[in-house]
Each structure stands twice: as structure tokens, then as C-alpha cells.
Amino acid sequence: MADVAIETVTLTIDGVPVTALKGTLVIEAARQMGVMIPHFCYHPKLKPDANCRMCVVEIEKVPKLQTSCSTPVAEGMVVRTATTVVNEAHKSILEFILANHPLDCPVCDQGGRCDLQDFSHESTPTTSRFVEVKRIFQKEYFSPLIETEMNRCVQCLRCVRYCDEVMDVKALAPSGRGTMTEIKHFSIHELDCEFCGGCVQICPVGAITSRLSMYEFRPWMLKRADTICTYCGDGCQITIQTKENELIEVNSSHGAGRNNGDLCPRGFFGYHVSTHPDRLQHPLIRRNGALVQTTWEEALEFIAETCLSLKLAHGPTAFAGLIASRCTNEDLYVFQKFMRLVIGTNQLDSSARYGHINGVRALLRVQGTHRWTIAFEDIVSAHALLLVGTNITETNPITGLKVKEAVKKRGAVLVTVEALQPAIGTISNITNLAAHHVTAHPERFGDAVLGLIKGVVEEGLVDPSLTQRAPEYVKAISEAVRCLPWSAIEQATGSTSSALRAAARAFADAPRAVILVGQGVLRAPGGSGVTTTLLDLLLLTGHHGRPGCGLAPLAEENNDQGAVEMGTVAEFLPGPGDLTDQAVRERIAGLWKEELPQTPGRTLMEILDDARAGTVKVLFVVGENPVGTLPHAARAKEALERLELLVCQELFLTETAALADVVLPACSYAEKSGTFTNTEGHVQSVRQAIEPVGESRPDWEILSALSVLLGYPIEYREPREILKEIRSLISGYGLLGPAPIPPRPDAAVVEGYLKKGFAEDVTSRYSLSSSTDRQAGNLTLVVAQSLFHSGKLSTRAKGLLELQKAGALALNPADATLLGIAEGDQVRLSNARGQMTTSVQVRDRVPEGQAVFPEHFDQEVRRLLSVSPDPQTGAPYFKTTQVKVEKV
């Protein structure tokens, strides 16, 4: 950590003097100078266990061989890694392992990249002295996705330790003694865990392998492409391994990317989407009411002709565009340039509107940044972490691992304000690690936050220098929270005032504190307001602006942040710069050598309204699927059916694409190059792994081709050229580095907020949410993200379908008993808007009175939901509703 003086020691390894940090293990010091000491049980991510004895070295003045994986370096130490004694030791350890090893390398998927193979080749003879019968374990079925062959296990316990130390899942355990030790899982039938694939990746031999790619490859056949996962905003680096244009497997090497080689099930098992047989291979055009295959020329010419004539008749305001923030920055940039220059309208929006925009707007308002002011490293080294409305394990699993590391390895205090309650389950539950936990109702995160602020004020934890700097601000807020009665807060949050005060104190007392805000807040009514209030909390406790402290809204989609920065949301130009800011407009117009359109931007919901009203007649949709995402109450289908021209660029024939007049096949992330910007604002390279499927083309290329036909060519040779242009607008954009350099809060903006800005909505933000008590017998239905899926895209990944095929309603055991429902029963959910039937899962982590349903499957759940746009940010809210649950 930054406040510890760095001490180094000098030692000699194999005759070479080395300087290493104090506390470094000998094995690591050797690795740094390029000497690989053979090892099985050691892994830099795990605490040393020193159980395999493979890493022994000779250390001068120490009588016996020492395990280098558990010996820290010391001043003047003399280490020898390759003496005869050491080699003999390696030989005998390997001989012991091989005595029981099946040596089925020819059929073992690890063959060719197996540590045991490599070390054996180095040190042992090709014949064995053992003639006894080998140890043979009963074959145990693990799961559809993870295969185990315990006869190959070298009992290093890396898998068990990874699952516990890093994942906090604890699904695996050794059983038996000595050579008969076998790795087992705790579940009764199949392995039931997070399926992060970590044990598969970390097993040094072929004892745990992936069943998804079983027997499809040999490691030396694989071509690697380091790219970025598209399933959430964490932006994990993945290596897609392909064989002759076929996707074989995904992994991530230790130390790679922001995820440091850790993945979640979506990243590890969800890669088959790109080669799904339903991928659109050819352009489709509507003839006599049906979509039929056509050629690119015909499709593009049809679009161009129709656009030109409609533009002539109705002007550019009849056009609008929607893009998914799963696209690369390059796609997003070209899309908004296409809409603004070729079409001449600002009426465009992206899926960042669903929630991410709320966080960005709050950050801009209070501190003038559109990004986090912290990086993942700051989460790990924080002393206190406040998580609000994020079921982080399921929405942003890798950011979740950073939180787990901070808490488990570094002893950070975790405060959670979550809709979940602490409970042991098959997947890790972040609230279990919390020192202070508030189980907030999903519509009342704001109330819990107010409780915390009231705690801060009443405990006298307000930063004195802030009181000096902005007395009015502190006074206004203190008064506002004093007016809120504890009784009302206790009733709204179900927590006692003393618990809230204690949580407030723990947070305020920490030298470095970080707040993570998740979908529960960002995608719920008042999302931007609650985020602003959380920034107030940072300001009041004096953390705001301190290095390593900050508030971080978690992006749901992989490039939500990029969508905002590329200016593909209604209110922003690339930068992001305000659409109405004259200086920004002039600068961009100067670079584009073209005037920007004057029309105001329109948000997603406004565009749909305009389409329904008939003022928008042409809609370009790139990867977005409003019909499939929004509830029926949003009447998106009705809106799109009224359009005169609907053009979709898509991977699959989605609900939206099925309504289109022209569907253009687009490339998935595996088939194109570009950049994604992750939730912390790190711009990372996406690299092509396979050839485009069918006739599909990258989105930017399609738009570029259209622009030529529309008489205003915006052409690029390759994505890098687009990035260069982006860089001319936003200096330094996407200069790839190992870690992002977070921006600092803009002092002038903070000052403005403290002096005046806060006042405009302080009363509305500092009042408890009007209580919408549910009627007796009703449950609050929460539509939430599942760990095993992301959006609708992942439901085409065969691996993830093995983990979760359809949605099921998760209920608290108490509610289930009350309703007379057991696990697996069918229930009917109904409310005024409609009804659906589904099966039930009983889960301790779901609080009483709530029912959680995953949002990924096209089940009737969207019928039950209502939708309301945020009055300020236009974000559509449709995550919770009231339902009646009955057994059928």
C-alpha cells in the first residue's frame, strides 16, 4: 500500500544477484529473473500451501531443502535451484506422483500444456519402476460443463483454495487421506456453484477440465486472440482459442487484463454465441410482408433510396437511431457520426439509457467527471466499501472479486445496502462478507442511504473542513436529514437506527472509502438522485476528492461507458460534451468540417413515442432490441410497426429485427476489431478471433457503406483509423496501458455543487420514498440479472443454457411456506397487466415479500411490468412491480 515504505532485499539465485521486495517469496523472485522453479501447489493468486514439495531449492546455511513457494527472501540469501540434490528431489517427487498417475495423456485435454508432463519430460526416465496396481477412484460425475478425472489429480489443492480464497464459493473440498485424497464437491448430485471455470484454469494437470470443449482440440492446434468479453461492464480480458475458425475455448491468463485472469461463467462458458446456427448469414428484405434473403447491394440500395425520398419529404427529423452499447467504440462513433452528418439528426440513443446514464449524469453534476475517479486497484486497497443496490456477484462478478479481495485478504470493512439478505447459498453472496448490512427493499435504496447520511450527521462525523468550506450545504443537508424521523427510516429499511449509525461510522472512519452503485439503484426510479445523494455522503465524510476514494457506478453492458463517451446518447456529443454546449459543438464541427444538426436529442422512450405519434418515420437500430427488452407496457412493438422504414443491424432475428424492413447481418465481437471501454473507463482492445460468419460485416462498415450511397461518404480503411479520429476529438483516448489513470474531480464543479447546485433538488432527494406498501398477499417482483446470463444474447450460448435454461421465480422459504409452494412447483403470477406461469426456486437470500425473476428469457414476465421514464434522465424503469403469486 502506498503509505508503507518500500523495503528491498538483495539475494543471489543461481549465482545471479537479485533485488526483490521484502516479503517476496523465493519462487517469485526467481520468476522475476527468469528462472522457473517447478511447482504444483503454488499459485501467485493463492496463499502458499507448500503441500507438493515440488518447488524445493537449496539455500545456503540451511541444512535441508526448502520449499521456495513458502520461503520469503532474506538479505544475503544464496539460493540454488538446479543442483544435483535439487534435481534428485524433483525426480523422486515426480516418481511418487507418477506411481499413481494414469498417464492417459493421449486422451487428456491437458496433454500438451500440462505441468506434470513438462516436469516429467525434464526430469524422469521414460520407464517406471512401479509395477503395482495404480490408485483408481470411482468415476464421479461433476456437471455438464466441468469434467473431473480424479485419477490424474496431483492433490495440490489449488482448485479448492481458488474456489475458497478467490471466489468465496467454497464448492470444492478434499476428501480422503494421503494418496487417496480426492477432490469432491459438496452438492448432492451435480456440482452446483458459480461455474467461474477457475478450477479448470488453475488445475496444473488434467484432473479438472472443461466438458464444453472436451476432446475437440489439442493445445498446439489452437490459435489465440486476446480480446474483451462482452457480457458485462467489467471488461475482462479473454483469450479466445480457435481451431480452423471454430471457437474451441476461452481462458484468461494470470496477470492478463483488468480481471487478472479470473473469469465468470459468462466469460468462460458463454462463447458459443458467435457461431450459433441461428446467426444471420445474409441480408434480409421484406417482400410481400415476409423477410426474404437478398444481396448486400440490393439491401443497401433499397435503404438508401427510401431514406433519400423520405428525407426529401419529411426532413431529417423523421429519422432516429438506436444502438446497443455492446458495439465497439468504433461502431458507436461511426453510428453517431452517420446519424448526425449523413442523416442530419441528433435523435439517437443507446442502451446506456437503461441505467448507466443515471450514474454518469450524477457524476457530471457533482464532480464534473463522466468516469470513475478510482480504478479497480483502489477497490482492493480501500479500507471501507459501501455497496448499494448491486448484487455484485451476479451483475459485475469480477468487480465483485475485487471487493472480496479487499475484504478477505486486506480486511476492508464492507457495508452493503442490498436487496439480498445474507445467506449461505451455492453462489457467493457478497452480503455474507458485510460487516454492516442493510436489507433494503429494492425500491427503497434511497431511504437506506438517507439513513446512513442521518447517521453521519448525528454521530458528528461530518468533515469539519467541509463545514468550513460549504456551511450552507452542510446545514441544508443536516437539517434535511434531521427532519427525517428515525422511525420512518427504520420502517422503510427494516434496519435499526443504531445499525445504520454504526455502518455510517465504519464508513466515515475509514481513511480510504469507495462506494459502488449497482443496477438496483441506477435502474430504479430516482436513480440519478440516489447516486447524487451517495456523492453527498462521500462529500460529508470528507472522502470526496481524496486519492483512492470515490463513487463508482457499475456499468451493466460491456461498453455502456463507451456509448456515453462516443456521444451515442441523446444528450451528449463525443467526449462526452454537452449537445447544447456551443463551444463543444464548434470544436467538433471544426474537426468534422461540417455543421452539426440543431435539433435536440431524443431519448429512447421519446424516440418510441415519436414513432408512435408518426413524427419519426425511419429508425436505424444497431444491435438494440427495444421490443424484446422493454415491457409490453412500453408499446415498443406498436411504435416500430408504424415506421415507414426500420433498418436493423443484428446478429440474430430478434423481436425487433423481425419487424424490420431490412435486416443486415452484423459481426459479433469475435469477428471484429476495435475497442471497448469498461466500467472504470479503461479502453481495451477487441481483436478478431474468427472470420465473419456468413456475409456478416462489422457495424461500422455497414454504416460506412450506407453513407456512400446516401451521398455523404464517411469512409475508413480499418477500425484503427476510426480510433485515430476519436483520439483527435478526445485526446489520449484508448492509449492502451496496463491500468487506467482515473480522472480527478473537477474542483470548480464540486465548488459549484456545494455552493448552489445541490439546492435545486435537495428537498426531493432528502425525503423518504412515498411508501407504496404492497397489498396483502402480493409480492414485489424484481426482475434481475442472473450470474449465468447477460441480456438476451447469452441465451444462445449452449454452455450457459446448460447452467440455466429458463427463468424460475426465486422466493424466500417463509413466503413459499405461506403460499404452500415447494421447490419446483408451478406458480401463476398475475397483476392488473397480465399473468404468467413459471416454476419456483426457494432461496434463503431472497428477502420475505420479494420474488426474483431473471430478465433474460423471453417469458411472459414483461407483460406484468409497467414502465416509467425518469423525468430528468429519461431512463426507463421497469424492474419491479407487484404481483399476486398462486400455486397452480
Partner: protein
């Protein structure tokens, strides 16, 4: 030069020695050229002829689809597509196996590499064809060559020794891998 050497030089002694051998062959004449195809040579035991895939005595294919032959081959003759055996979960085999014999050097490295002795070199060499494509052999063709060349077959591997009892066997009670 000694006297003896001088005598040999002037009497052309070395030439006479050579002529003696020539004259001997002239008298005991035996033809060397084989009248192929009416006559055929006896092949040495380690003759490296046409390649073949083998089976165990219960007719199951020996090849486990490990791809090691393809990795060993210096001229990229072999292509193996491995997968799980349909109906036999966790067992591996070569779903497709082909050899482009136009490129084969008959070096035998693939036979050396095969861990289960599934490959062998037969004594067949009469493989002249009018169309080169006929030398692209698939798994069935290669197995047929093996069948006709080797009458004696080995016992199944897992029945040979308890230590290999778990080598590439199927577990019927397990589900097939996801497809």
C-alpha cells in the same frame, strides 16, 4: 618401389584380378532384374508400406483420436478430428481421420508416435492410381487396409493390464457432453 610391386605393375596384375571376377560372372550368369509384376520381391520384415488403421480383436477401433500421429508427421499427411464417442460418454475417438497419401514419405514417424498402436505400416505398395484423389484415404478405407493386412489382432487395451483399466473408457451412466 619394391621389386615385387614393380613386377605387378609391368604384368598388369590388378587388371587380371578384376577380369577374373568378370569372367566368373560370365560363366555363372544369374539375372538381377525382377520381371515385375510377374515376379515380386520378398519384403523385409520391417518393410514400410501403405499405412493402415487397426482394430482390437472385438472389432473396436484402436485409435483414440489423440492427434499425436498428425503432430509427428513431417509432411502433414494426417488430419484427425477427435470427439466423444456417441453413446459412450467420456470416451474419445477419431470422428474423422484422413490421410493424404500423395504426400507421405513412409518415414513411419506416425506409427512410432501412436500411443495405442493403432497405426501400422502394411506390406502393400501397389497403390499406383490414375487419379491422385484416390490417394486421399478416409478412416473407413484405412481400417479396411488394416483389416486385410493383419489377421491377428490385439486384445482391448483396458483388458490387458489393470493399470490401464481407466484409459479411455466410457461411463454409460454419465450424460454425453453438451452439444
Amino acid at each position: 618401389m619394391t621389386f615385387g610391386e614393380w613386377v605387378k605393375t609391368i604384368t598388369f596384375y590388378e587388371i587380371l584380378v578384376g577380369m577374373k571376377s568378370t569372367l566368373k560372372h560370365l560363366i555363372n550368369y544369374k539375372p538381377v532384374t525382377l520381371q515385375y509384376p510377374h515376379e515380386k520381391r520378398t519384403l523385409p520384415d520391417n518393410y514400410r508400406g501403405m499405412l493402415a488403421l487397426l482394430r482390437y480383436d472385438d472389432d473396436t477401433e484402436k485409435c483414440v483420436g489423440c492427434d499425436l500421429c498428425a503432430a509427428a508427421c513431417p509432411s502433414r499427411v494426417i488430419k484427425v478430428i477427435s470427439s466423444e464417442v456417441p453413446g459412450e460418454p467420456t470416451k474419445r475417438f477419431a470422428k474423422e481421420y484422413s490421410m493424404d497419401m500423395t504426400r507421405c514419405l513412409f518415414c513411419g514417424l506416425c506409427v512410432e508416435a501412436c500411443p495405442v498402436d493403432a497405426l501400422a505400416m502394411t506390406r502393400e505398395y501397389e497403390w499406383a492410381v490414375y487419379d491422385k484423389r484416390e490417394l486421399l484415404l478416409n478412416k473407413q478405407q484405412l481400417l479396411a487396409i488394416g483389416d486385410r493386412s493383419f489377421q491377428v489382432r490385439e486384445k482391448r487395451l483396458e483388458l490387458q493390464h489393470p493399470n490401464v483399466a481407466f484409459f479411455n473408457v466410457s461411463f454409460k451412466e454419465l450424460p454425453q457432453k453438451p452439444s
